[in-house]
Symmetry: C2
Subunit: 396 residues, 2 copies
């Protein structure tokens, strides 16, 4: 049995190389940009009106003119026009192109227009209300760097430079595997000794919440079936995520089969609660990694959030710091086990506070439904006083 710190470090150091792929823009959210993105034009691409009003030539103001015959109206989306006479004006809408020979815009609120004449009621400054071409970004400038995570704002930038196809890092291909003859489908009525699949369904929902594609597979407790199925998924997937099947029971063939298929055990059993019988390995040939979580719901759920999501952050090059919470009560550490305790969180000013949820052992799925995540309580002898901060793994 190894310590939590050692296990965590070992998991994070077994990342995988994913390669790249091209995706349609709107399918690329949450992915990692695999190319630098350059501006394909100046931003803004023209001298752009920032107000609805009139466009004039400032020389007219210098010459004392305050009334301007209206030559016409320019809306956004029209090509660039020309102010034909320097003592006239053009009405102009927000987003429209500043006409040739105009250099200043006066908003409607500072004009009075009647009978085709705009009278100005304020003293304009030369160049006002114009968002100058290229003032945000010049054509050719790098506007998004390789490695950027694609958020909805990034999608907006990509759209504006015409990237309808984006080169991104491939997502790991993930297979979620349920094990055990005691499991029946959700729509089945279990016999008294059976239970419905819930762990892998919950993992599937958690992965979908982060828009991580994955497949579900079931392995019965039959060695030959386990062998042929695992052989295949090791070829087809980058990550195998198992629930159940690695405790010390006689019918837990999985570690043995994994070993025979060339999956090296990196560790088995971690000094933590819940989630102690966690098994982690790596397929030497393909580099695929195997997260084999304990069979009980809270253990699987905790280890998914603690280990898998942290691993995925590293794979994605996400360097954001971890979250901490202030616990509003005292808590007893365990002398030799790292504890992951379910908490509910709430904000108090800019501080994230947490309260423990008292569960009924690691089998209690219903308490888990109320938890916002897990705090990590390091091993120790002395009680942690109220108000202490702990690393927080939010539930997804």
């Amino acid at each position: 049995m190894i310590s939590f710190e050692e296990a965590f470090e070992k998991v994070l150091s077994h990342t995988i190389e994913l390669g790249t792929e091209t995706l349609p823009l709107l399918s690329s959210t949450h992915r990692i940009l695999a190319e630098d993105i350059m501006a394909d034009r100046d931003f803004p691409p023209f001298n752009r009106s920032t107000k609805d009003g009139i466009a004039i030539n400032y020389r007219a103001i210098e010459e004392g003119i305050t009334e301007f015959p209206v030559q016409g109206v320019l809306s956004a989306g029209l090509s660039q026009q020309r102010l034909e006479n320097a003592s006239h004006c053009l009405e102009i809408m927000t987003g429209a192109v500043l006409p040739h020979d105009a250099d200043t815009i006066i908003m409607y609120e500072e004009t009075e227009i009647s009978n085709g004449i705009a009278k100005i009621t304020s003293t304009p400054k030369k160049g006002q209300n114009i968002h100058s071409q290229g003032s945000d970004i010049e054509k050719g400038e790098v506007i998004l760097k390789k490695g950027t995570q694609i958020t909805s704002a990034v999608i907006g930038v990509l759209a504006s430079v015409g990237k309808h196809q984006v080169l991104v890092q491939k997502a790991p291909r993930i297979c979620v595997i349920s094990t055990g003859n005691e499991l029946v489908e959700v729509h089945d009525t279990p016999e008294p000794h059976q239970i419905r699949k819930s762990n892998v369904i919950s993992l599937s929902a958690a992965l979908s919440n982060q828009r991580i594609a994955h497949e579900l597979v079931h392995l019965p407790d039959v060695k030959e079936a386990i062998e042929s199925k695992l052989k295949q998924v090791l070829e087809d997937f980058d990550v195998l995520m198992l629930s159940g099947g690695v405790s010390k029971g006689k019918f837990d063939y999985i570690p043995e089969v994994l070993n025979s298929l060339g999956v090296e055990k990196i560790f088995h059993r971690v000094a933590q609660r819940p989630g102690k019988p966690f098994w982690f390995g790596r397929h030497e040939k393909s580099g695929s990694v195997v997260f084999s979580f304990p069979g009980n719901p809270v253990s699987t759920f905790a280890n998914y959030h603690v280990y898998f999501l942290s691993w995925l952050k590293v794979v994605n090059g996400d360097i954001s710091t971890h979250i901490e919470v202030t616990l509003q009560e005292e808590v007893n550490p365990h002398p030799t086990l790292t504890l992951f305790l379910q908490v509910q969180t709430h904000w108090k000013g800019s501080k994230l506070h947490a309260r423990l949820i008292k569960g009924n052992g690691s089998g209690d799925l219903v308490n888990l439904a109320q938890a916002h995540g897990f705090i990590k309580v390091p091993t120790g002898e002395k009680v942690f006083e109220k108000g202490q901060t702990f690393t927080f793994f939010p539930a997804s």
Copy 2:
């Protein structure tokens, strides 16, 4: 022009009734449960072994027996067996049903098994290592209440009680509408006076990130086309989200058309920056609401997060408190406008800290791609000193 506080309150008070629908379990994440969920059996459904080891009858211990002939092996998924002889034992795996006439489980680590005899090496407690039937929940108990938001842990609970179909609150039907002749598609090469659609693409990505279904529609600056299209979407959708089209420009027909179609203007223009020309209305006949955001990218993005997501929380009955951040620098308020400033955030202990991103006005989409969200800076005269906390609207 109304104050931000007034506008915000008006938006939140115009919620809509959504009705309910039945969805397949894995399609129900992020939705709101529209029924109480009862346990369809005891949890656990039988006296369940929590360890791999041997099951015995404690009377044997009381009689001083320490060596037990092994009657057989019980794996998880087997129906309940019987311990035929009170001085024998059955090997038992984690998750298996406790056999009749056994009441105590001793883990393998505290036994030595050879030649079909299990010798115990510890002093067991009666009833140990058993998760008793119904100790988590009794059959018929309400385990999830109507109104619960369906997280991945909730999905696990629903799976375990066999809810492969779930009654949930309907999601609002959302139509995201781009406007303006100056817009071209992302895959098109714009003329110098044109720009690519990016606002609605960004909104679409933000909605998808929260798994909110929606459709995209474009309105050109032609009154008749606007009229017929808006009439139709008002019938088909609960929420219309427009970008652009409600400034004071001559070609902004939208407020006029909305009015003629029976959409009451609740307000237009809010004392805030960015996002001032925000128009909000309600279709009296259908109850649909119309969020008409200003055309520039940062304004649309800010108002989506500030108004729409807050509105959606109310519609979903989500009572979680808002988030605050500590700003690590001083900031000047505006005397009459509520400011929404772009920030990057990072954790420091359990406190969420923020730093301002200096943008180039509300048109600067590229800065937005680096922001983690917006802080709300109330109106005022005096500088807010470093270390002050502000309400935070995280970008999605």
